[in-house]
Subunit: 109 residues, 2 copies
Amino acid sequence: MAHDHSELLKKIKKDMPEDELLQDLGDLFKVFGDTTRIKIMYALYEGEMCVCAISELLNMTQSAISHQLKTLKDANLVSARRDGKEIYYSLSDDHVKSIIAEGYEHITE
Amino acid sequence: MAHDHSELLKKIKKDMPEDELLQDLGDLFKVFGDTTRIKIMYALYEGEMCVCAISELLNMTQSAISHQLKTLKDANLVSARRDGKEIYYSLSDDHVKSIIAEGYEHITE
DNA sequence: TGAACATATGAACAACTATTCATACGATGA
DNA sequence: TCATCGTATGAATAGTTGTTCATATGTTCA
């Protein structure tokens, strides 16, 4: 071991959230950590879109988009609504926008 | 191709940030997308810490911590200051806290 | 009911990532 | 100057992840 930190560590450990929460936090940000998913979320800023339109917009396979939408849905970031053959996705709540906005701020300065 | 979306797509494309920025955004969130790094950032909430203390706190190799600190530093999320043999790391700015706070809110509700 | 369309999904593969190990670098004090 | 301590770093490896391909599910309309 190295020099003594016990005092400091005791204090910090007390204020740290539980491991499970920290894990969930990491998992959440992992979802934001992909350009395709970021683009999908940005595309939904204006309102709902069907899978078909998203894949055309991003010039990507329908399958690839579907897989990513599932990831986003599992993280409660987007919701789905069926209308006939099509399924429309939209942002689940405003958290998506605020999280992206905070990231945006860090980058552009 | 599928049914027609040209009108919608034209509008959305106009409002979408450039690809490079979206890439940078994804890269930034990727840094937050790891539990070890989240823990390190949380540990620095109270103030600066040396590498030694962080690795003791997280019960991880000094090498592992150093690698992650480099990742955080490259993303301008932490800064380093040398004092003798030790190097003290601290959060670069308040963005770290606000980004984590937004993620926290999404999870806990 | 069957054909066509929109979407979902499982398996497979290539690309990426976090940790470990070994070692190098830089500072201190004897 | 040399031994020691704190930290950084490159290479290797195991685990993870995004896309593709093939195919399945569900809906509409004739």
